[in-house]
């Protein structure tokens, strides 16, 4: 994993993250543990595979990096390798999950991301890498870029 761009958090981002952290401490999502550091901009979160799933008893680490303009911009969320074997998780820790990219919205939180990731893990029927893992990891330059949809077809009868 290359170094992340680390522009300092803006004031809005700082305030928001402090509130999220408090909320997390009061009401942590089950199966997750935030490893306390003094770095508000990078959270390291321990994930425990849910009981009764392929990942039961396993522990992984998520690294969440917040951009300067969080929450208008999505956080970068990756698994610290070794990443779980999963059809949507690449060996470099990148996760293919829409809410981390195009479908991110400020209405989401670290906590809701964690819950989505755990649900993605839990629903996996098979432990394997994505079919294009090697090629992707080789080609990988910063796994994401926010995109905005511009096109739609209008039904002018409505």
């Amino acid at each position: 994993m290359g170094p992340t761009q680390r522009d300092a958090l803006s004031k809005i981002a700082c305030n928001r993250l402090q509130k999220e952290l408090v909320e997390w401490q009061v009401n942590p999502p089950s199966g997750f543990k935030h490893k306390v550091t003094d770095n508000l901009q990078r959270w390291v979160i321990e994930v425990n595979g849910a009981p009764g799933t392929l990942y039961a008893g396993e522990t992984y680490q998520l690294q969440v990096d917040f951009p300067e303009h969080y929450p208008m911009e999505a956080p970068q969320v990756i698994f610290v390798p070794p990443a779980p074997l999963h059809p949507h998780i690449y060996s470099n820790g990148h996760i293919c999950l829409d809410i981390l990219y195009d479908s991110w919205s400020p209405a989401m939180t670290v906590s809701s991301i964690c819950i989505s990731i755990l649900s993605m893990l839990s629903s996996s029927p098979v432990k394997q890498r994505p079919a294009d893992n090697d090629r992707y990891v080789k080609n990988c330059k910063n796994g994401r870029s926010p995109k905005e949809t511009r096109w739609w077809f209008h039904d002018d009868k409505v």
Partner: protein
């Protein structure tokens, strides 16, 4: 503009894949740096061409006709009709937020011009209702409170425009004393590179424009206010999910919840009649959308269609002022009597602001 749209559309088709946890094909596209680069360069170009919200003085409606010169005769005919009714267009950037951005600008501009304190009072009440809606739907306060506070601040700041602070007087004075081109230079130097030219009549917008629309940052006030509208829209749709469900099913296979998560709350997601209805209802603000498309009626005569989104006031809720006034004036007050003060021009995929003559 058309080409921009076309190009973007092409890029989207390639990149559209990542909507759900991937299969192999998704990443085939996603990893394609060329596509990503092309898209971001299109974005940069688009951003340079059109600020988040443009300057109406620069765009008499005739500029639309020029844009379609070699286009469909139906469109040209419709533009001609529009020219009879409307004086100007203010363009907004085509970044998927154009409906919300057009609405925001149009609404705040209206308040700035009318200094209508009653309307501000009314909408503030509705904003509080929206806040309660989100809370009751289980949104954590910290996810939306900053956006709400910011919108309320904007309302206040446009009202304060009334009190003609010294700097505001100064601006008007300058614009009177200087020729347009002098003023333009002064403006470019002192204010921004985004809004490059303004008429005297537009100077009063300046303070507001400067504060709200000039920065390219994602924390640009107009982006944050767009997000406020997205929260409000999503809350309204979820609150009245039974009402909206059939419309949403008509657009997509998604559930109401999925629709809100994937097509309302994320920035850059296009707005449809569902969004417009929900926003108009939640805030109690009527909106007219004028359609510029290739449709024509069978009879052969060309006319420009429009649709009025008239708020459906919640029981006991505040009736929008415009509606109340119209009702009083029109006696029994069918919805036909309500004339929205916000008019948007819709062209497939895009909304801009229209100014009546």
């Amino acid at each position: 503009m058309q080409n921009q749209d076309g190009l973007l559309a092409d890029a989207e088709v390639e990149g559209i894949s990542s909507t759900q946890a991937s299969n192999v094909d998704d990443w085939e596209n996603f990893r394609d740096d060329a596509i990503m680069q092309q898209q971001s360069s299109i974005w940069a170009e688009e951003a340079e061409k059109i600020p988040f919200v443009g300057d109406k003085a620069r765009e008499p409606l005739s500029s639309l006709a020029a844009e379609y010169q070699s286009g469909s005769p139906i469109l040209l005919e419709k533009i001609k009709l529009l020219t009879e009714e409307f004086a100007a267009i203010r363009r907004t950037r085509g970044d998927g937020n154009c409906f919300f951005r057009s609405f925001m600008f149009s609404y705040l501009e209206r308040i700035l011009e009318s200094q209508d304190q009653e309307e501000v009072h009314r909408i503030t009440g509705n904003v509080e209702n929206c806040r309660r809606t989100l809370q009751s739907l289980g949104y954590a306060d910290f996810t939306f409170e900053d956006f709400f506070a910011l919108f309320l601040e904007q309302l206040e700041s446009v009202l304060q425009g009334n009190k003609e602070s010294i700097s505001h007087d100064e601006l008007i004075q300058r614009s009177r004393d200087q020729s347009v081109s002098d003023y333009s230079e002064w403006h470019i130097t002192h204010v921004s590179t985004y809004v490059t030219w303004m008429r005297k009549e537009d100077v009063k917008h300046m303070k507001f424009l400067c504060a709200a629309f000039l920065s390219a940052s994602p924390y640009n006030v107009s982006c944050l206010v767009v997000m406020f509208f997205r929260f409000v829209t999503s809350g309204e749709i979820r609150k009245r999910s039974e009402f909206f469900e059939p419309f949403i099913l008509g657009l997509t296979n998604a559930t109401v919840e999925q629709f809100c998560k994937s097509s309302v709350e994320p920035m850059g997601e296009e707005s449809d009649h569902v969004h417009i209805t929900a926003l108009s209802d939640a805030l109690g603000v009527p909106i007219r959308v004028v359609y510029l498309d290739r449709s024509s009626c069978d009879a052969g005569g060309v006319s420009v269609n429009h649709h009025d989104f008239i708020p459906n006031p919640p029981s006991g809720g505040d009736l929008p002022l415009a509606a109340a006034t119209a009702t009083a004036a029109g006696g029994s007050g069918g919805s036909e009597t309500i004339k929205p003060f916000i008019t948007l021009l819709y062209r497939p995929g895009h909304y801009d602001i229209l100014y009546p003559k």
